[in-house]
């Protein structure tokens, strides 16, 4: 029963994340800076991290990236997403573990690290360290989108049923 519940909840959250990445492409927001996205799908990552734990978050995030790259992306877009997500998840898990920061702070750090991860991937792919000039812009945009994502997630975390916690992959 519990195993089935895990599979179902993982499938549902991955689907929601996939839909959110699609919905985002429909929102015509132009930040005036090329390459900046809100990253709505990360609402799912942060929410799952808090409700279900880190293993679930890594699992849901990895599945989302693999599926969205297969469906809509290219090999390159997979590299950028995966690198961003790896940095962001690692940072958020560590920062959450300290217990000193709230959802918004953790999510902001996640946003910044996501952009840094993508920058690292871009430097490696293009072999152009000069791209590092984008760091300040990426840090600012990462913070703002991270705060936004964190606010939505903290509302969701408060409102979603606590009973959902029983499917956490972290607890045996």
């Amino acid at each position: 029963m519990r195993k089935t519940a895990k599979i179902v909840y993982t499938a549902i959250t991955v689907s929601v994340a996939l839909i959110l990445s699609y919905v985002e492409t429909l929102i015509p927001i132009n930040f005036g800076i090329p390459g900046i996205k809100i990253g709505l799908a990360n609402v799912v990552t942060v929410t799952v991290l808090y409700l279900f734990g880190k293993k679930s978050a890594v699992c849901v995030c990895a599945l989302r990236i693999i599926l969205s790259s297969l469906l809509f992306g290219t090999m390159l877009s997979f590299i950028y997403s995966a690198s961003g997500a790896a940095f962001s998840l690692l940072g958020m898990i560590l920062l959450k573990k300290t217990g000193k920061f709230g959802t918004v702070g953790v999510s902001a750090a996640g946003g910044i690290l996501h952009n840094m991860g993508q920058l690292v991937a871009a430097v490696l792919v293009t072999q152009t360290p000069k791209i590092a000039y984008y760091i300040p812009v990426l840090v600012i945009s990462g913070t703002l989108t991270g705060v936004f994502i964190g606010m939505i997630s903290s509302l969701l975390i408060q409102r979603l049923p606590k009973s959902a916690k029983f499917i956490s992959l972290d607890k045996k």
């Binding site: 390459g35 920061f101 709230g102 702070g105 902001a108 300040p136 812009v137």
Partner: protein
């Protein structure tokens, strides 16, 4: 209450990061100098050097395919067309200051403004 402490730490963290980034941005903007040449890189190799004082247009080939078109006009460089779907490089607009760049990640094309003496 603990919650208040957490919110306070969040705000401090976010404020520190934002201030640091804004300061860096300010320094970059204050020290910027206009460049003299637009250097095009494809696949990590120098592809062409376009002096900014000569109006010109160049079609950039990457991996043997027509990738981007770079236009130099009135001392500024911009990408006028791109084969990639997102058109981020086209939307970047024109650049003319040293170290400013246009990046097209799908085509691995990078245009950087440099200064030649």
């Amino acid at each position: 209450m603990v919650k208040k402490e957490v919110v306070k730490r969040d705000i401090i963290l976010i404020a520190c990061v934002l201030i640091a980034a804004l300061a860096a941005l300010l320094i970059i903007n204050l020290t910027k100098q206009s460049g003299t040449v637009a250097v095009i890189y494809t696949n990590n190799e120098e592809y062409a050097r376009m002096p900014l004082d000569v109006d010109a247009e160049i079609v950039i080939y990457s991996d043997g395919k027509e990738a981007n078109t770079l236009v130099v006009q009135n001392g500024k460089a911009y990408i006028s067309s791109a084969s990639c779907p997102d058109k981020i490089c086209v939307n970047t607009g024109s650049i003319s200051n040293e170290n400013e760049m246009i990046v097209c990640l799908p085509n691995k094309v990078i245009v950087v403004i440099e200064k030649e003496n």
